[in-house]
Amino acid sequence: MSVYRWLWDFQRQAYDSQDSERIRLAEIAATSEQIADDDPDRALSLLAEGRELAAWLGESWWVLYIDHWRTQHLLFRKQDNNAAREVVVPAVVEARKEQYERLPQRICLHEDLIHVYLSTDPVGYTAQIDAALAYMSGQITPDLQCRLCHQAIVISFAIESGRLDDAAEAALRYLEMSQYHNHHLAHAYAYLCQIAFLRGDWSGMYAWAESGEPVAKREGQRNTRAELLAWQSLAAARLGDQQSARRLYRAATSVAARSSLVFDHWFYDALCAYQSLEGRYERALELRRRQLATLMDKGRTVDEFRCRLELCGLLALLGQPLAAELAAARAVAGRLIDPAPALAQLEGLERETQH
């Protein structure tokens, strides 16, 4: 049974029986979804209210359904891994019980848990994520939309593991799978831009971003839209169209400023790459500091390390003291399961700076 079928049946029964509390529960869920990209804090507040109501009504499926959405907002709209982990681990433990065997969100919760660890330390948790993805592919039947979310994790994992050819192949497959699912379609374009960024394929990046941005706009996906505008701006600059690049950069930051969403590292990577390309290292440094502020105590260890590494690089370029930042980066590297590669990167940077 798809989650939409289940929700539809629930709502219909609630309306048929004029069950005002259950109607309210369904409305809370729908409203929180509508406003999530504009105002994730409000969406989370509403979901907290909805969860209490669901628990009070004894609607245990709803409790887990709401937990899935809380996790999603915390992960992708607040970038708060720690808070997401606090929600999703108990939900996964609860979802093992027999009463949830047919709950469509059970698979989603498993995916959420993988996402948490993927954005904490993808290399450190490689074995677990690999095993979990293999398990998931056996659980997802072709009729379930979950295959789209699953495909998205496969791409993220491939990107994080540096397997760019696998990532590109998976992203193109995702693009094909998403043709009738605009929400996923915008993400597919964003993934393709991320891969293009890592490969330095600027014309490809421009084309993907240009195709994806209207989709994200239509779907009200502010974070994806801002990211796609930022990629478009960077690609335009790389391709020599400075005027368009400036306009697109302004559009990206304007979309970003008009929400309380917290943006992931790709957005900052695109903005900083543009600023660095223009030689505005101070501005890139400021952006990285802003990014760092969003990462503090959020459990995104790998992102925090990368951000600090970028900060060190910019400080070195600007000839500013970087001992304190290097020490902080080392401390973060120490929180990774295998800190050696991260520490080696820092040592390399330090050597380069000394020379």
């Binding site: 982990r85 681990v89 398990y135």
Partner: protein, 610 residues
């Protein structure tokens, strides 16, 4: 192929017509807007080109439900056969756009009143009509009437028509799927929605009074009264808290400045009906023609409580004219609107503090969210925002008058009876901080008022416990130690409560998760991740059984310490207190735990009875 040849694109006209006519617009009523706008531009063209002293423009619309016909007629400048060929039948070429370009050199004001620009709005007629007939007679001297007819394919018929007056009449054979547009009420509503501010009178269904206002409220003799009346009519809202008229503004672009012709108004409704559904919607007009009524990007994100109407010719509509492009002018208008709104609100706070208070109270949820992000605004509202508390709505100064120097809040509703009893026992009202912006607001408040402390009650009831000297209670603690119970002496209110048991947060989950792992109920890869998470929590076994806190201020506990009964009776009483506290803790006990607690309590009672 060895030679390079230059080729032309080919147009598949039926396909293009279908796309433009059927897929460009999201709703069918747009067709009426496009035809009214053409009629308006035609009237304006006659006024400009005809130079007739007593010319009075006029547009009439009639619906014939029986024949399924809609007729839109104007006394504008009409069309010649050449103009029909050059403009009406040439997609993408707009006479109005060309006229505007010519006029902009001579009369900017008249140019700015022309609306058409893309040259394919007329095609939208085929959204609602299976056949379109146009009977027109041009203003040009010696022109005769013409009849143009098309059913939306690549061909049209043009021949002599019958019409005495200069102007154009369009007759539409309405498709069955669009028959609803013929309903008189809907027709009036559509005209009002799209063309309320157009200066030409629009008569519908033979009515002698125009259905449109013809004048935007900000151009009325008494703009404030007209605006208030318009808000009541168009937004179904009486008595807005404030109305801020918009005016032209010059925006500094750093390297340059931009003069923005800006009209309209912003207003604040008396209160939020449901704050989560407020988006700061603006109704947008361009050259007095309605574009959309839910533009959410123009107002600053914090201004969700405000709404309004804006007309600015610098805004660029999309091809379907149902939304606007976010270009440089859009950004400049965003800036101007924010500036004018902030100025308006600031003025209100200074000159009309009573209304300002009503605004803050009426939109508390939205305003707390804004204040958290804006220090200057925070200072203006910090003392007047009311919060939901266990004693009703209170502002922070009123709240602090009751509690002294501390703000007690709970981020979730206080769950257990034990938590609620402890909070009330403390004799303090508790602020409900479950709404997302409340907690950061309180934190900001406490940060700025150094002598104010913040106490979160939920999640850690230990914050309501105070240290107490344990010396007089050593005997009691020794008995608990012998029973394997972790116990401490503290002081808390109410004094009638002898003991409570406090568990680590999420104890139920931790126990459940351990059980799931021990019995292999979780799929392998997820068991690894959950196991790793549990080890990271570092909660010891003893803590999972809970800590018993004995209340040093409770007369019963004091009596047991000062004047203990026999050793057996004392042990039984203490067991009883412990088990009652366990049952009272609000933690869901497993059936086995509950049976064990009742068993121990019963044994203690039996001991006492012996």
């Amino acid at each position: 192929m060895s030679d390079v040849t230059r080729q032309s694109f080919k147009l598949h006209l039926p396909g293009l017509l279908k796309v433009l006519a059927e897929h460009l617009y999201s709703n069918k009523q747009v067709a009426i807007r496009e035809l009214i706008q053409n009629a308006h531009d035609s009237c304006l063209r006659r006024a400009v080109e005809g130079k007739e002293q007593h010319y009075r423009p006029r547009i009439t619309i009639t619906a014939d439900g029986e024949r399924q016909m809609l007729t839109i007629s104007d006394n504008g400048c009409g069309l010649t056969a050449e103009e029909i060929d050059a403009y009406l039948a040439t997609i993408g070429r707009s006479y109005t756009r060309e006229l505007r370009e010519r006029l902009s050199m001579l009369s900017w004001e008249e140019a700015s009143r022309l609306i058409g620009q893309f040259g394919f709005g007329f095609l939208s007629a085929f959204l609602i009509a299976s056949e379109v007939m146009l009977i027109t007679r041009s203003l040009r001297p010696g022109s005769s009437a013409l009849r143009w007819q098309s059913s939306g394919d690549e061909h049209y018929d043009l021949g002599p028509g019958e019409r005495d007056e200069v102007g154009t009449t369009i007759e539409l054979c309405i498709k069955p799927s669009a028959a609803f547009v013929l309903q008189p009420n809907l027709l009036v509503e559509t005209v009002r929605k799209y063309a309320d501010f157009l200066p030409d009178p629009i008569y519908v269904a033979g009515d002698r009074t125009p259905v449109n206002l013809m004048l935007p409220p900000w151009e009325a003799r008494d703009p404030l009264a007209a605006t208030t009346e318009y808000i009541a009519r168009a937004f179904d809202l009486a008595d807005p808290l404030c109305v801020i008229p918009l005016h032209d503004e010059t925006v500094d672009l750093g390297h340059d400045s931009l003069s923005l012709p800006l009209s309209g108004f912003l207003f604040v409704p008396p209160s939020s009906v449901a704050s989560v559904r407020e988006y700061g919607d603006l109704r947008v007009f361009i050259r007095r023609m309605f574009i959309c009524d839910d533009e959410r990007e123009l107002l600053p994100p914090w201004a969700r409580f405000a709404r309004g109407v804006i007309d600015c010719p610098l805004l660029q509509p999309t091809a379907s004219r149902e939304s606007i492009h976010q270009d440089d002018a859009f950004e400049a208008i965003q800036q101007a609107l924010e500036h004018q709104l902030v100025e308006g609100l600031r003025r209100m706070a200074q000159e009309d503090p009573a209304t300002w208070r009503r605004l803050v109270r009426g939109h508390t949820d939205v305003i707390t969210g804004w204040a958290v992000r804006d220090n200057q605004f925070f200072d203006q509202v910090a003392d007047i925002v009311p919060f939901r508390t266990s004693r009703g709505r209170l502002t922070l100064p009123d709240y602090l008058a009751l509690t002294g120097d501390a703000i007690y809040f709970s981020a979730e509703q206080l769950g257990s009876l034990q938590e609620r009893l402890l909070a009330e026992g403390h004799d303090v009202p508790v602020i409900d901080a479950s709404w997302f912006a409340v907690r950061p607001f309180l934190e900001k408040y406490a940060e700025r008022q150094r002598d104010v402390g913040l106490v979160q009650l939920d999640g850690d009831v230990k914050k309501l416990l105070r240290p107490a000297d344990s010396t007089p209670f050593e005997q009691l603690l020794a008995i608990y130690q012998a029973q394997g119970v972790k116990a401490q002496i503290v002081a808390f209110k109410p004094a009638e409560l002898p003991a409570i048991v406090v568990y680590p947060p999420n104890v139920d989950f931790i126990l459940d998760a351990h059980s799931a792992l021990e019995t292999d109920e979780l799929p392998g890869p997820f068991a690894d991740l959950v196991g790793g998470y549990l080890s990271g929590l570092r909660v010891d076994e003893q803590a999972l059984r809970g800590t018993l806190y004995l209340n040093a201020t409770c007369p019963l506990i004091r009596r047991l310490a000062d004047d203990p009964p026999s050793e057996g009776a004392l042990a039984a009483v203490l067991t009883l207190l412990h088990q009652v506290a366990r049952l009272f803790a609000g933690r869901t006990l497993t059936p086995a735990d509950a049976a064990q607690a009742f068993g121990a309590a019963s044994a203690a009672i039996e001991e006492l009875l012996r």
